[in-house]
Symmetry: C2
Subunit: 459 residues, 2 copies
């Protein structure tokens, strides 16, 4: 399944469609998996999409439907009958249905809710109430539950009976009469045990679980820490209400990493892929930060203005400003990005602050001194001797290099303190990564520069 194959296949399917060779098209589609069909549908024009969708069998249709983007789902919903829609809704897993309802326009939601069975409607309504970014908002209700007095044979028989409607059958949950979670047993453990073994003896009572109101980022870390395929979700009373499966968590992981990266680049995150965002949306996601940072940078300008006399007296100093600010900003970003990532993977905690500061202080000194040394030689060899710029004296070289060391150390310390503090007060540390930090470090760099210049050059 190379990318090229996919494009070739789309070409082939498209030709069949254009030439109205519907029978052959239908046959090929039935042999394809739901993900590839969804990818093909999303390349078609609206009318064609609805037509091809209706060629699919009922079951395949529901599977493909779950893998379409919400705009495409809306289009399909608007072109099928109530009966067809009803069967799709009942076939969908609850998490897919809830995702869709969150984004569909109100009139379409109304129609879907009217058509759904009252049981489905109640479940959807209940799941829609979980806050965004909570575990509740990504879980699904279809799981296999067992009782601890069952034996392995009965359990396997139950799985074979009710498994068709469960999102996973590989992890089964043992619940009490009042739906409290008592243990967990994997299908693997069931199959590798004797048929007469009682569940109570093989289930794991030390269950890793999440609660509906947990942040979904926490559940991601449970999956990676414990190599799980599904995590049970309980409500405040400890009753099992749903599960989160690993395939949904992979999507959350991609999303969270993208969001972190976007925030680090001063973009308001969007949950839709770039190619689907319009110009206005992109503008809206980007302009607030650019505006804020631009205004922040005018303070840097004010600092320069207030040292105008000094710069006029020693014009050579101006030329080093971009290099100093750039190096300060880069040094700070390196630290802050490392800390932000460590925080989001759960590898770093606030209590590590002391150790981190000590480490960054030493790294900052090492980096600062290395850079200053190279720069000192470069100024004397290239600027002073080679280019014969007599304005650039040894004293100016000293000012620049001392500033470099000071700036790098300050940037590294600020770069690790700020994200930790922001995390501590409960905000997202990712906004403290590069650009906002750079603006702060820029101002600090200039303060260091002009103080050193004043002191050494007696300006």
């Amino acid at each position: 399944m190379e990318i090229k194959d996919v494009e070739e296949r789309h070409e082939e399917l498209f030709e069949l469609l254009e030439n109205r060779r519907i029978k052959e098209l239908q046959q090929i589609l039935e042999g394809m998996n739901e993900f590839d069909i969804a990818a093909f549908l999303s390349e078609l024009k609206p009318q064609q999409m609805a037509m091809v969708f209706r060629m699919l069998s009922k079951e395949k249709g529901a599977e493909v439907f779950a893998n379409l983007e919400v705009e495409e789902q809306e289009l399909i919903i608007n072109s099928i009958t109530d009966t067809e829609l009803a069967s799709i809704i009942e076939e969908l897993y609850l998490d897919d249905a809830v995702d869709m309802m969150e984004e569909l326009p109100a009139n379409v939601v109304k129609r879907v809710m009217r058509i759904a069975t009252s049981e489905t409607r109640n479940l959807i309504n209940q799941f829609l109430r979980y806050p965004e970014d909570s575990v509740g908002s990504i879980m699904t209700a279809e799981y296999v539950d067992l009782k601890k007095y069952m034996n392995v044979r009965e359990s396997i028989a139950r799985i074979r009976r009710i498994g068709k409607d469960s999102e996973t059958i590989y992890t089964c949950y043992v619940t009490s009469a009042d739906r409290r979670l008592e243990g967990v047993v994997t299908l693997r453990e069931l199959l590798l045990s004797n048929d007469d073994e009682i569940i109570e003896n093989i289930m794991d009572t030390n269950v890793i679980f999440a609660t509906t109101t947990d942040d979904k980022e926490r559940v991601v870390n449970l999956f990676s820490d414990y190599d799980l395929l599904a995590v049970p979700v309980v409500d405040k009373e400890g009753r099992l209400v749903g599960i989160v499966t690993v395939d949904d968590v992979i999507d959350v992981m991609h999303q969270e990493a993208t969001e972190d990266i976007e925030k680090m680049a001063a973009i308001t995150p969007s949950d839709r892929p770039y190619m689907r965002l319009g110009t206005l949306e992109l503008w809206r996601n980007r302009i607030p930060w650019l505006m804020l940072l631009m205004i922040g940078a005018t303070f840097t300008g004010l600092i320069i203005s207030s040292f105008e006399d000094a710069l006029a007296a020693q014009a050579a100093l101006t030329a080093f400003i971009p290099m100093l600010m750039g190096t300060g900003g880069n040094s700070g970003s390196q630290s802050s990005v490392t800390i932000v990532r460590g925080l989001s993977l759960g590898e770093i905690r606030f209590s590590d602050m002391g150790k981190i500061l000590w480490k960054e202080l030493r790294v900052g000194l090492l980096c600062g001194i290395s850079l200053a040394a190279v720069n000192f030689i470069k100024i004397l060899l290239v600027d002073h001797t080679l280019l014969g710029n007599s304005e650039i004296t040894i004293m100016i070289a000293a000012v620049v290099c001392i500033t470099l060391v000071g700036t790098v150390v300050v940037a590294k310390l600020v770069g690790c303190i700020l994200p930790l503090l922001v995390e501590k007060i409960g905000l997202d540390p990712a906004v403290m990564a590069s650009p906002l930090l750079s603006t702060i470090v820029d101002a600090l760099t200039l303060c260091v520069y002009f103080s050193v210049a004043r002191g050494l050059l007696k300006l």
Copy 2:
């Protein structure tokens, strides 16, 4: 399993250990899962770690061992007997064994290889030969294979017989007599079919697979595109040689996202967590980029120097340099980071270049004009009127604002072209994200600024 619980439990276990209440400690450990035990062990002193490890049962020991960091594995290996080591090696899944061998010091590797059975030794040697970052380097050899003429009952019986040693039993692979991959069938499909059904009739022949030499990033995208739990890996001849399971892929995802983020922040990626890196290692990962970018920034300095006369004539222009460079850099980063992320998730391809440029041109114009408008008002109201800075004329405001529009547009275009080009020539686009791009954009910004200033102010 809240974080607090974990710390409390460690405290409790630690107390039992200190008071030599070994029996109780052993009992609690036997009830814990391998991940939590590994986390506890890594908080102990070397001697204690070895002691506690030897309290574990043989099977638990091997599971815990697979979840330790390589330094801890080395410590354990050096404190157990050959017989104990042999049983751990044979219990380990091949991918864990190979990971370990890649990082252990040569003398320890020698001992492990001497003790392993010749079959294990040969497999390890074969797997060690796959290039870093290839699918071969993360796959494992323990899977369930079936034949297409088997029926469901026979298949389930086979799974129950050989499943104990397989890393997953949930996806089974149907192979021909010469080990060619013919189809795939999930345990779910097996259990939901009739006992007498023949595998050939229920297996999926449209198999999603990877080859040993594929980049491991590609396999990550297969998992997220197709919601898979395992992907089969074939060699050049199409023979099944191993599988990659979803838990390993989650680790790869975390690693790849961290690497991308680090490269975007001008850090040479490291595969070890921040808290485990020493000062020198951190310095080594950070200094090359800082050095390169510092040298790059001196060109920006050269541009400023060559316009020294203009700046001397209109000193007010200097104060706007940080704001203009900052805004240019931030605008460029927004675009480049978005493109880099889109490329790594497979959402953007080189062939989208035209569409992307057109989109970024419009977004750049919108952003540039918004910023310029706010800035124009701010300069006239605050700088000119409020602060009474007579140097700042309407003409200077015009120069600054025209530069802003030009700079933002140029930065956005360069920000999306560079990563696409870098990807096209086969390098990693992530290095073209923020800092390197900022350095390039800084120079471009100054060129725009001074050209506009020369033109409008007749300098």
